[in-house]
Symmetry: C2
Subunit: 253 residues, 2 copies
Amino acid sequence: MTTTLHGAIAEDLRERIRDGRLEVGGLVPSESELCEQWKTSRAPVRQALATLRSEGVISGGRGRRSTVNPNAIGQPFDTLMSYSAWVRSLGRTPGQRTLELALRPADTAAAAVLDIEEGALVVQGLRLRLLDGVPVMLERATYLESVGRLLFDFDSDSGSQWEFLQGRGVEFAAASHTIDAVAADEIDAAQLDVSAGTPLLRQRRTARDPHGVVIEHNDDRYLPTEIAFTLENAPNMRTPLVRRAQPGEKERE
Amino acid sequence: MTTTLHGAIAEDLRERIRDGRLEVGGLVPSESELCEQWKTSRAPVRQALATLRSEGVISGGRGRRSTVNPNAIGQPFDTLMSYSAWVRSLGRTPGQRTLELALRPADTAAAAVLDIEEGALVVQGLRLRLLDGVPVMLERATYLESVGRLLFDFDSDSGSQWEFLQGRGVEFAAASHTIDAVAADEIDAAQLDVSAGTPLLRQRRTARDPHGVVIEHNDDRYLPTEIAFTLENAPNMRTPLVRRAQPGEKERE
């Protein structure tokens, strides 16, 4: 839809950031370089840079060379997969309190999310996640037995299960996320210190190994006063975030 | 993080879908073509295709040529911006009931989201959005006066305000979205036919023109039993969805 020259210049820079040709934290090409590259005068180049600045994609300008903002275009796989990695990327302190790590037969819900037989063994963890010492999220994880068993060797109060599992050779090849809202149940309420029924922001995640086998399912419930998801988009950008109708969701709950 | 050949083949195909070299609905290259391109045997190619199939990015296989799934990698700008365009992309019927379209001085909240002076005129719309005749979302829109005034010429029960405004020359150059959860207030509850306090999935959106000026702010509240947001990701993919800590959110509400 963008047909203006400044729009095309801005979109080209976004694309270079997305695919890594321009590094996060690195310098954006100078106005002169962009004029040379696009065989144009300064006006459209300046407008493209102003647009990216207004979107929060780059910072600087007014005499200083612009730089690519961290998280301007998005976050890498690990900070979306690992709560600890994400909090560290903010320069803040992650924390967790493990409330349970259990080996048990899969109930109907656990069997459905892992796509296994009901009654097969699974490992389930319940952890409260902290941001600078403050509880912000309650995490319910369900692992395929072979993967989850590794966690019994892990001090799960010490950091990222996700990083630990990768260190043990578990390969996370893809993940599907569903984001919606849910009322705090009695467990959420007690741990997050809110009333039952309080709206929570829920992120459910299914992670697969390179063979497409589901190895982990997470149900993470965030205090929406503390955590949100954000997204920047523009014409000519396809975004991986998709709005979906949820027929049958009520029956599955 | 993906260092395997099948992982690289899969990521290359994802990238070709994301940037449009492979069209949504179109054919994925055949196994033979991929073997030729990567100078490899069939095993890694088959594994790459199996991964993409398990992620829902492509369908087919088992003898039939694979095709790229609609919305596999993401949705284009218009289906994320326009509720009507999105519902039509599902092959379902969008609908709306306009409850109010008002010209009024900006209160503190409206002034803050549009980044204008309190008391400046704005246009505010309240619309109930339907999916196949069923209410699923309540939309509160706030427009800059010059843009919003155009809507008084529009039969807002007839379809997409967003498409109408573009037809009148309004250019949407970028948008920022924030997704969280909120308790239904009395207005939400009455219109969406739920009890006050019911958790709703909230998407707030700020849209800018090519000069970076905020021209529209939306506060859309979805029934989470009906609508969710989903996202697929994988190593080596930066995703534009970012998890954010919200310090000060409580004060802003």
